[in-house]
Amino acid sequence: MALLSLEKVVGGYGGAPILNGVDIAIERSDIGVIVGPNGAGKSTTLKAIFGLLKVTGGAILFEGEEIANSLPDKLVPRGLSFVPQEKNVFTSLSVEENLEMGAFTRRDDFRPTRDWVYSMFPVLAEKRRQAAGELSGGQRQMVAMGRALMSQPKLLMLDEPSAGLSPRYVIEIFEQIVKVNAEGVGILMVEQNARQALAFATRGFVLAGGQNRFTGTGPELIADPEVAKSFLGG
């Protein structure tokens, strides 16, 4: 049984659906990457999983249980975390307070998790008292990931984690994601840097028009001449 599986999911913001039958299956050991052209429904898929828009058809199963249209305050305690693409830190709160907010749904002692996050992102430990809004783009992305990891998720979803970052930071963030996955957190992310992200993806999903076009391991998709021609720019 997959950790997360989407079966023929249909949904949107009311009006015409944006997702027209998306299939996704992710294990806890996986790094899943969703790629596709603009408007394919990549980010929408993540939002649908996280209850941020209406799912009208199909099924979303997390550990075998239906979670479609559940709200985040129910999903986070179950082990699902989401890093939005933009405005993903509390700018006026300190780094440490940002992390604490990620642990809001927990009633147990979250300090071990915080130390674990600091050990993965040592720069955050240095800047723990600084307001998150004062950090660089790459560091903010680490705060955002750290915040999402504070709830000890089984699956971490990231919406374009490399957006707006310089090439050096893109590589660094991807390395961090692989590291987080190695710590036993499943990853499902949407990426514009498709070729780079698929290189380390254990599962790749090419979406177009709100539907799956191709599914396979990342390297398989890169090697597929059809995918390369239509979606990876030749």
Binding site: F50, L52, L71, P72, D73, L75, V76, P77, F82, P84, K87, N88, V89, F90, T91, S92, L93, E97, E100, M101, G102, F104, T105, R147, S151
Partner: protein, 334 residues
């Protein structure tokens, strides 16, 4: 020296009194704006209502024959604050929550709060009439004098007991609020939600709970402000409605959504009002010798006449919006 004591009594004490009332009211307005993104116009009437709740409780206690060394209205204030907080929660449930659920725009909520204003004022007039009430019908309003002979003055520093209690209530509220916002899990969640409501939801923060806590805090502080104002002057149905606009100005000057800004804005406006109506001739007369002969001090040298006291708040508001549109502290933009 007597002139300086006069200045202290009329500007510093009065300014601080006004500043405390503005600050306690503006904090509630700014918190509600930060969390719910609308201007809660009925806040002044929640203050007045708090004053009347305290008045009724104090009346009951006095009727029971219980007397305290402190003003009864002050002694029952904690109970009144709890009641007022619950009523604030009820007002939200009845009038604002259903609108939010339907995704109403901020301006709709503003209009609804004007409705709540009229409703609260109407209810108060229905029950208590349009008259004026005092907390000190049965007990004396004590004056506190600090002798200033050691300063070489004959005039004492004077303030009333309610003034001193108001300073204490404000200090305790501000310190408590500070610790709540910076140390407690819910306080931090409140700041997080004011900062970025979408991310707060995504983080799994219980936003409904944060909204409820916001109303509880705003309601209880409004009750404290209204009661302390009524203890200082008198209690009437339009007690705080008359100052709700300067209170809004204080919240905006401080930076909407910013609790410390609202406190700073409250005191800034309080002192500005008393400073601008103060007759500076009083202070200048003793040193009139240093002026050239052709300068004669006018009888009244205040920046604005007393009748225009309230307009000072708006002049400062306009200047703030021109120079620093987000307020003294960087606040949330509307």
């Amino acid at each position: 020296m007597n002139e300086l004591i006069f200045f202290f009594n009329n500007v510093i004490v009065s300014g601080a009194v006004l500043g405390c009332v503005y600050a306690l009211g503006a904090v509630g307005i700014t918190l509600i704006f930060g969390i719910l993104r609308f201007a809660h116009f009925a806040h002044g009437d929640m203050m007045t209502m708090g004053g009347f709740i305290t008045f009724v409780l104090a009346g009951l206690v006095t009727a029971a024959g219980i007397a305290f060394p402190l003003p009864t209205g002050f002694v029952v204030l904690p109970v009144a604050m709890v009641l007022a907080a619950l009523i604030a929660l009820g007002l939200d449930k009845a009038f604002y929550a259903p609108l939010r659920l339907r995704g109403a725009k901020p301006v709709t909520l503003l209009i609804a709060s004007i409705g709540v204003t009229l409703m609260i004022q109407g209810l108060i007039r229905l029950i208590f009439g349009t008259g004026t009430y005092t907390f000190f019908a049965e007990e004396p309003k004590r004056l506190i004098r600090i002798d200033t002979e050691w300063l070489g003055a004959t005039r004492p520093i004077a303030m009333t007991e309610p003034h001193v209690l108001l300073f204490i209530v404000t200090l305790v509220s501000v310190v408590a609020l500070h610790y709540f916002l910076t140390r407690s899990r819910l306080g931090k969640a409140m700041r997080a939600m004011a900062d970025n409501p979408d991310l707060a939801q995504v983080s799994g923060i219980n936003t409904q709970l944060v909204v409820r806590v916001t109303w509880l805090i705003a309601g209880s502080l409004a009750c404290a402000a209204g009661t302390m104002l009524a203890l200082d002057v008198t209690l009437k149905p339009d007690l705080a409605f008359n100052i709700v606009l300067p209170i809004f100005a204080a919240a905006i000057v401080g930076g909407l959504g910013h609790a410390y800004g609202a406190i700073a804005g409250g005191f800034l406006l309080g002192f500005a009002e008393t400073l601008s109506v103060f007759n500076w001739t009083v202070l200048l007369r003793p040193i009139s010798g240093i002026f050239p002969e052709w300068v004669s001090l006018p009888g009244n040298l205040s920046i604005v006449p007393t009748e225009y006291k309230l307009s000072v708040a708006f002049v400062i508001l306009v200047i703030t919006l021109l120079v620093r549109p987000t307020g003294i502290f960087k606040g949330a933009s509307s």
